[in-house]
């Protein structure tokens, strides 16, 4: 039935799952006895166990403790200095606005119409990095890096609805739920997004909530309803881009 998809080792061999449960002390004594007996007569499984043990040792030598901070992706390393400088400039400009400046309405639930933005972005095209604004023209291949501001710790996600009506999760990447960010002004997020070839208007929604929320239901809702109304207790900041063919 699965002849086209071969297992790495024979049907009788121990799986990586069994080895990992063994390393974690999760196998009961009977399964340990069976596994040891199998190892006694199976060279490939002995080799596999040795390989997994070497890999474990290498990993723990390199990353011995639970991470407390997320490193930036290599992909976005080029953005660091330019965005930091530009974000610093934004902060400076915002600060000059006085008490009504940064974050003046940032804890007001609802969809932002006017007032300071919680969500902004930078665009990299070729080697040039510029600060973006809602309504801006962008091109396939442009890279966006988002910057968020929040007056208090918030759970944040960024979603997009592209010109074909497809909704995507831009931030956080690879997680099921929103990410909690500390209160901060003009904080560049760690990931950059490369725009694909779908042309037309692309709407970007920054969602800021007091508590954690699931991403996939929100993405499905956005795709179905083609807009995102702020969930209860949350604020949504919306940007619109116009993606046109590269000149």
């Amino acid at each position: 039935m699965t002849a086209e998809i071969a297992r790495p080792r024979s049907e009788r061999c121990l799986s990586d799952l069994t080895f990992d449960e063994w390393f974690a002390g999760e196998l009961d004594p009977e399964r340990v006895r069976v596994a040891e007996a199998h190892l006694g007569e199976c060279g490939p499984c002995r080799d596999r166990r040795a390989e997994l043990e070497r890999e474990r040792a290498r990993f723990l030598e390199r990353s011995p403790a639970l991470p407390v901070r997320r490193p930036r992706r290599h992909r976005t390393a080029w953005l660091g200095a330019a965005v930091a400088a530009a974000a610093g400039m934004s902060l400076l400009v915002s600060t000059w606005r006085g008490p009504g400046g940064p974050g003046a309405d940032q804890d007001t639930p609802g969809t932002r119409a006017k007032g300071p933005r919680r969500l902004s972005f930078f665009v990299k095209r070729g080697e040039k990095v510029t600060e973006g604004s809602s309504g801006q023209q962008v091109e396939p291949g442009d890279q966006l890096r988002f910057v968020v501001s929040a007056a208090r710790p918030s759970h944040v996600a960024i979603l997009s609805l592209d010109g074909a009506g497809k909704a995507s999760i831009y931030y956080p990447s690879g997680l099921e739920a929103s990410r909690r960010l500390e209160a901060q002004v003009a904080h560049p997020l760690e990931d950059a997004i490369e725009l694909d070839a779908v042309l037309g208007p692309e709407r970007i929604f920054g969602v800021f909530c007091g508590g954690a929320f699931e991403l996939e239901p929100l993405r499905r809702k956005l795709e179905a309803e083609r807009t995102l109304v702020a969930p209860a207790g949350c604020a949504v900041d919306e940007l619109e881009l116009h993606k046109v063919k590269a000149q």
Binding site: M1, T2, A3, E4, I5, A6, R7, P8, R9, E11, C13, L14, S15, D16, L17, T18, D20, E21, F23, A24, G25, E26, P44, C45, D47, R48, A50, E51, L52, E55, R56, F59, L60, S63, A65, L66, P67, R70, P71, R73, H74, R75, K166, S168, I169, Y170, P172, S173, G174, L175, E176, A177, R180, I193, E194, L195, D196, A212
Partner: protein, 160 residues
């Protein structure tokens, strides 16, 4: 529900496997390290994810596979990851899957429904039996057989 100290011990016991599997699925040390961070930080922020109904290892297998699936399904990430990956980046491990199977599993993760792609990953990359796959997916062995049949059809098409 992992407390801080048990989370630390979970990391030492399980992070190597999370990293190894994520690297195989995504083909990148950097991406795999991010998956490790995402998985454990998410567990720290929402410990109720682990209900205790399964072993920690099977729970983390499922979480890691899903995290890699999600990362490959994000169309922006997929384009970048698939563009950046090549056969040269598939590492041969002693007793591990072949580079061909690894590439097939990556394609499956980016193109097939999650349950079919996951079954393929567990069978072809992790070397799991139908019974073990049923345990991780929390379904019947018969359903695992159906999923692998669909995965085999995908493999045939990919080969053609």
């Amino acid at each position: 529900m992992p407390r801080a100290e048990s989370l630390e011990s979970w990391y030492k016991l399980h992070a190597p496997a999370v990293f190894r599997r994520a690297r195989r699925m995504l083909g990148s040390d950097v991406e795999a390290q991010e998956i490790v961070q995402d998985v454990f930080l998410s567990l720290h922020e929402r410990p109720q994810q682990f209900s205790g109904k399964s072993s920690v290892t099977t729970f983390l297998y499922a979480v890691t596979t899903h995290a890699c699936f999600t990362r490959l399904r994000n169309q922006k990430n997929r384009r970048r990851l698939m563009d950046e990956r090549s056969e040269a980046e598939t590492q041969t491990e002693a007793g591990g899957p072949s580079p061909e199977l690894t590439l097939l599993a990556r394609r499956a993760l980016s193109e097939l429904p999650e349950d079919v792609a996951s079954a393929l990953v567990y069978y072809a990359l992790d070397g799991m039996s139908h019974e073990e796959i049923a345990r991780v997916l929390d379904c019947s062995r018969r359903h695992v057989g159906d999923l692998l049949l669909r995965a085999a059809q995908f493999a045939r098409k990919a080969e053609a």
